[in-house]
Amino acid sequence: MPLDCILSAVAAWLLIGIAGVAALRRLTLVAHLLFPLGGLAALLLAAGAAWALTQPPQTVVLPLGLPTLPFHFRLDSLSAFFLLVLGATAAGVSVFAAGYFRRGEGTPPGLLCLEYHLFLASMALVLLADDAYAFMVMWETMALSSFFLVIANHRLGEIRRAGYLYLLMAHLGAIAILLCFGVLQANTGNYTFDNLRAQQLGPFAASLAFLLAVVGFGAKGGLLPLHVWLPEAHPAAPSPVSALLSGVMLKTAVYGLVRVTFDLLHTPLWWWGALLLALGLASALMGVVFAAVQVDMKRLLAYSSMENLGLIFAGLGLAALFAAYDMRPMAALALTAALYHAASHATFKSLLFVATGAVLHATHERSLGKLGGLIRFMPWVAWITLLGTLASAGLPPLGGFVSEWLLLQSFLFAPGLPNGFLNMLVPVVAALIALVAALAGYTMVKFFGVIFLGQPREEKLAQARDAGWWERAGMLWLGGLCLLLGLFPAQVLLITNAVTRPLVGAALNTAGHDWLLVPVSLERASYGPVLFLLGAAACVAATFLLVRWRYHGRLSRVPPWDCGHPDLTARMQDTAEGFGQPIRQIFEPFFRMERELPSAFDAAPRYRVSVSDPLWHFLYLPLARAVEALARLVGRLQQGRIAVYLLYSFLTLIAVLLVVRR
């Protein structure tokens, strides 16, 4: 039974976590035995999930939870899809982590092992939960365990602040989700998803539930304007954890929103889709623009995650829009695009984050301004990372491109919508998606180029060593997944079809095209990555052979041309800040910039520019100030004077008596 398979994997994770506590400080045991075992359990989970995709939904009720509401778990195709993503990604990350964790990183290794596996297990159970209570318990456990992972290196004030912000936002989001379930159960008092699904809500209640879900899951998924925690928390965590946070945990937000919008609520209203689309696009644009100006490699990736999640949410919005107008095949297309992007983002973002981990360990440096030229010292890491970079940039023939392709395809169908205004918006939206994708390319060139290419910007980088075998194996696994997702979209569609069919009542066409991705028909659009790759490879190989056959292979190595400048140093290369400069200029209104410019007569000229999120200043800081002011006001009640306290009691008594006597 697939469900047994998955539950035993979860149980294995929990046991491994407990074993970790038992071996609290024995690093070798924890790293080289427990983490790989966790990876194996992840594979088991993925296998179970893949199996489940071919089976009808299965349920189980555990004798835990509230007396009236024991934990219900259900494995259907939607859960199975996300579990597959979780298992496949976690396997790679766990293997990487086996080589990653070192001594003396704040938290003892055994405790990290517990938190890590608890995190994995709670994510799996979130995906399985079939009642509101189980869902909320797992959801918050997930937040909590990941919070402890984020602050693994808790001695840095910055990391503690990030962790605080993270847990606060997670908790506020969770409250919203809780209320969403409260609305969904429609006064029945029964919180099983079966019952929620059976309720017929009016448009107002349904919209309220949807909005609460958007707030709750949006807070987890980094949707504007609830994204502020994301670029703080993801970089703060140890790299394998960042990989899981960005790669997998954000997907639970996608899962939740899909579950609520398409499963628990039946027919979306059109403006839900429009809202989600708008929010998704805004976050995508904001994310990518901020990613382009970052100078910290992990922050850059975190913002890039925000961008990708924005795209996924936009896809969901479009799917909801189509579903609202009962255009089921189109809805299936958009939903597939979103799911596909979720899967490919999981693989490439995990890969990139673990790569930053490898770089971090080799160089002890996170700032892009101090890296460079690592491809010569860490070829393994560099070449595998290149794969992730290209996928993240949305370039063919890798996974990121397929999902963006599907998304753009679904936009092409949007003019069929029976709503003139929306039709008009479509080109703008499609244009923005294209812009975001192109900017992602810009960002990724910056990411890869500044870290791995060029000359080392610091002396010590020459001492960098390539990652160990565990790390390489984990990265290879993730890179392989990127490649698979890119090259075999038709096969992946078989999986996503199993998901979309029950949710929107339609699926994409896969019959007869094993090597081609043909969402509707051959005349409309098609994409064949294998063919594409073969074509490109043939061209490249032919060129290479021809050139080698026809011409000599003489070669001499010389210093690079200095353009007439006698002392060219590595510091003259374009920096990460420099790479961000055009973006800062073009998208100026997005940023809140603080510049420090040297004057012409400075003896030690200094240039500094810092870019911050304007939302902090327009939304969060005023909010915090308002609470502070209110708290100050409330604090005045407690002046220390006993006569005043007695007066309160007296007045309260009088007031209550007046109410009573009424």
């Binding site: 290149l386 011409y551 374009d574």
Partner: protein, 315 residues
């Protein structure tokens, strides 16, 4: 996969490879004429390629293997691009593998590789060029995509062959959306092919160069391949423009013999197009790099307006 299809596919690639330097030479010649200079011969690009292939390869001492792979990759990408754009016939077996979106992706892939290679040597100009190239790219790419989308909205397809098929066999009609798209396409092509007013292919003035900065460290056969790839790119863009806006004469699967007519027609169209390009280039002045976003922004805007017009007017 049928024999005529395979034949037309091969023919297309070969013609592209052969004719691309010629087109570059023709544009340069026209430009020289317009500038009242004595023109280089039409075959100058071929000579240059020949010379470069025979030269010794001089590599920067710490260039990585990525740096050495990139010329082949870029060349392969451009050849593939030429293969999937219908120039002579719409009966192309490679066509289902890549549609309009994939074409844009392909160009982007080549650009990313080229920029990465430029960063690899680690000189100031290489990285500067990479940054500028990516800047132009991220603005031009969505604009190009929007242009293609305008056409796709008319044909309800992103498949290039279907698109061209449809346009080649339609009644002569005026499509205002395509007019906008055409202007946008021209602007994008200028930028993408490193032409004035965005870039000047004829200069190595360090502070203004973009495309040349990317190639600064390349030499020998690598440079030859990259130069050839640049020609191929110009050729591909020209053919794409022709296929979208002036598709008449391209043969379809039913009439392979029409290719006999298609070839001279293509040559004529390209001649005219090349001359026009030269005219455009000489008529405008190179702009500052900071003005490029505005330039490409307007292209982007035009393309979006084209799509809007399409949706509002239904044509």
């Amino acid at each position: 996969m049928n024999a005529p299809g395979l034949f037309s596919q091969l023919l297309e690639v070969l013609i592209a490879l052969a004719l691309a330097p010629l087109l570059t030479g023709w544009v340069n010649q026209c430009r020289a004429w317009l500038l009242n200079k004595s023109a280089p011969p039409l075959t100058q690009p071929y000579r240059k390629l020949h010379k470069l292939f025979h030269k010794e390869l001089v590599l920067a001492e710490h260039a990585s293997s990525l740096y050495r792979a990139v010329p082949y990759l870029v060349f392969g990408c451009m050849a593939l691009a030429c293969a999937i754009i219908p120039t002579l016939s719409t009966d192309l077996p490679l066509s289902p593998a890549a549609d309009a979106v994939a074409l844009v992706g392909l160009f982007a892939l080549a650009r990313v590789f080229q920029s990465l290679a430029a960063m690899d040597v680690g000189t100031a100009f290489g990285t500067l060029g990479a940054r500028r190239e990516m800047l132009i790219g991220f603005l031009a790419e969505p604009a190009l995509l929007m242009v293609l989308f305008s056409a796709s909205l008319l044909s309800r397809s992103t498949s290039l062959t279907t698109l061209v098929d449809l346009f080649a066999h339609r009644e002569l009609a005026i499509y205002p959306s395509l007019a906008f798209a055409g202007v946008a396409f021209t602007l994008v092509s200028l930028a993408e092919n490193a032409r004035i007013p965005v870039d000047n292919p004829a200069t190595h003035l360090e502070l203004t160069m973009v495309h040349e900065a990317l190639l600064l460290e390349y030499s020998g056969r690598h440079l030859a391949l990259l130069e050839w790839a640049a020609s191929l790119k110009l050729f591909a863009y020209s053919c794409a423009g022709l296929a979208l806006f002036f598709p008449w004469g391209i043969a379809d699967a039913r009439t392979p013999q029409a290719m006999l007519l298609a070839l001279p027609l293509l040559a004529a169209k390209l001649t005219l197009g090349g001359a026009l390009l030269a005219l455009l280039e000489t008529a405008s002045a190179k702009m500052r790099i900071f003005r490029v976003p505005e330039f490409l922004g307007s292209a982007f805007l035009l393309a979006v307006i084209g799509m809007l017009v399409n949706i509002l007017l239904g044509v």
